[in-house]
Amino acid sequence: MFITYLLRELRRRARQAILIALGLALGVGLVITVTAASSGVKNAQAQVLHSLYGVGTDITVTQAPAAGTGRFGGFGFGFGGNGGTGTRPKAGTKIDQNRVTTGQYGPVGSSSVTTISKLKNVAGASGALALTDIRISLTIGNFNGGIGGSGGSGGAPSGRGNFKPPVTFSVSGVDLSTGALGPLASAKLATGRTFTTSDTTSNVAVVDSNYAKQNKIKVGSIVQIGNSAGKSTNFTVVGVVSTPSGTGSDFYIPLARAQALSDQKNKVNTVYVAAQNATHISTVSKQIKTLMPKATVTTASSLASEVTGSLASASSLANSLGKWLAIAVLVAAFALAALLTMSAVSRRVREFGTLKALGWRSKRIVGQVMGEALTIGVIGGIVGVGLGYLGALLVGHFAPPLSAAVGQTTGSATPGGGRVFRPGGFGGTGGGGGGFRPPGSGGFGRLASNPTVTVHLSAPVTISIIGAAVLLAIIGGLIAGGFGSWRAASLRPAAALAKVA
């Protein structure tokens, strides 16, 4: 009788039942889509952070360069002194400067790495030296104005000189004794080999696969890396590696070699730290902060908040607009279901009065109303899962690739160095005429950072999302049924029958 009565009643008010079920389905579908998109965005963020950060690294420690240091200001070419008053070189003079700098990060002593590794709850620490190499080759022509104009007003050098655009790339000095941690941690070997401990003092390099492809570098190639004095050193490429999203350095060389080239003996400028487990990350970062007050301590979560670009927009879209939209639709669907169920019960006052007169207990009548509402809820849930799945598919299909960059606004550094370089302009903004340095007051590193990663957004629908959504629909049904039942149970049979008389 229960089932027969339930199904007949639903068939009688099929249009209303469909409306309620569709309302719930829409709400549930939106919840699934938004949740799936949101977890897709989270995955994308994780992917970005992973590639920026390296596997196994929980915290990175960097330090801003001391005032007046760390700038890339040393391209004097042996002429162009202060204010551009130097002697003009002869036409035809060839200039080749290949120089490395520690860029945006201030050096800290290697002893800091040891100290950090001994902190409580720290599983390991590895120091690295992120360097930027700029190579400038030109032949002096017969020109006016030129490099190092007065007061930094000089634009691009003019004249008939032969000037090649500067070549820039990033170099990471890798501590070979802590292989699982550091800039190479997230890299995968494509060809050749990685470093061994015997490479510590060798001029060997591992190159990023993208950079290698662009510059036709293979295992066995000889590459030239500069030093702090502008002279080149030949390195043999022993391996090609790929990083998850190509955001690592262009070259990796043994730390000791990087320190020697940049004249930073026993110095590093990025410390990669692994906590014993995720729950200790914040305690460990606090300890490091206390130990090194000037340092910038970056954790995955703080880095996540600095991710900018369309990924960040997608994230805020999914988390704010999407979430609220889904909640609004769901609340509206619940309210609609409750109102329609109550109105349906009101129209059945005589029916329920009659059943009470026949001796039906309120509990049985409540059960009947609840059963009907629940059935609608379950149907709404099932349709909603379909809609949500479709929505998630559409998000995955139509969402444009998202780009992300870690912002520099807070001054925290991106571990692992940058990959996307914008060639600096010529002519200083300051008064150091004759110098060749990129614009901006933050030194070269400011330019050389902002790694951008492009990820494809997918919206994964998991069983738990589906379960939660169906549960939501059932809750919607229960709420609607609850209101209707309360109305039905509060009927006195005489009042119910009198209402129609």
Binding site: M1, Y5, R11, R12, R350, E351, L358, A501
Partner: protein, 249 residues
């Protein structure tokens, strides 16, 4: 069977208090056919609801087989309704989504009768009222008279001791009306039911053993043709001259 003692019922409508029953005392004996007459709005239906435990009095007691229905808990009252009272309404009150057979079965649900037995008893009840060929019809597919027959079958399928009928012919044409009253009379005689029938229709009322009239919430007995055995079984109030004893306050 029934003993009503000084029963009052008042309703609050806005700022006014309306007294639907103003001190009704009445005794109804087993197997009696009582017709209640009176103008609309003078308390006939309210009295019937008190008898069927569909409502509780504001004061006074409604004794049924020694139990005061006014004081029982709702679940107890529900059980008595399910077992002992059959209702027939003017508007039939069939469940529109259920077939004739299922409507009749609905009366057996609260008694915990199994589905197979329910179906068999419903079929028998419908056959009794001449609707053996209309088992699967929905109420909308039946005429008014047929619907009322289904309602009567529903009221009687559980074999109640009391049948309470509120204007059962009020919505029917003359021929059908006679059919239905004939059916009720036959069932009353055949089953030894106590029949309480509210009606406007004097010819119908005259077929009853006793006629009570409700006016302004008060009841008076207009006619009593009960056999002596039943009349004498009544309590003192009813034994006072048959005319007007029952209702006075």
């Amino acid at each position: 069977m029934y003993k009503l003692d000084n029963v009052t019922k008042s309703y609050q409508t806005g700022r006014h208090k309306v007294g639907a029953l103003r001190g009704v005392s009445l005794t109804i004996t087993d197997g009696e056919w009582l017709a209640i007459q009176g103008p609309t709005g003078h308390g006939k239906t309210t009295l019937l609801q008190m008898l069927g435990a569909l409502d509780r009095p504001t004061s006074g007691s409604v004794q049924f087989n020694g139990q005061n229905l006014a004081e029982l808990r709702e679940t107890e009252v529900g059980k008595i309704r399910a077992k002992s009272f059959g209702f027939v309404f003017q508007t039939f009150n069939l469940i529109p989504t259920l077939s004739a057979q299922e409507n009749v079965e609905a009366a057996l649900v609260p008694l915990g009768v199994r589905a197979v037995e329910r179906r068999a008893r419903a079929t028998a009840a419908l056959t009794d009222v001449g609707l053996a060929d209309r088992l699967r019809h929905l109420p909308t597919q039946l005429s008014g008279g047929q619907q009322q027959r289904v309602a009567i079958a529903r009221a009687l399928v559980k074999e109640p001791s009391v049948l309470l009928a509120d204007e059962p012919t009020g919505n029917l044409d003359e021929d059908t009306r006679d059919d239905i009253i004939g059916l009720l009379e036959r069932l009353w005689q055949g089953r030894g039911l106590t029949l309480v029938l509210v009606t406007h229709d004097s010819p119908i009322a005259r077929r009853a053993e006793r006629i009570a009239v409700m006016r302004d919430g008060k009841l008076s007995i207009k006619q009593d043709t009960r056999p002596a055995s039943r009349a004498s079984a009544a309590v003192p109030q009813d034994s006072v001259p048959a005319d007007l004893s029952a209702s006075e306050d």
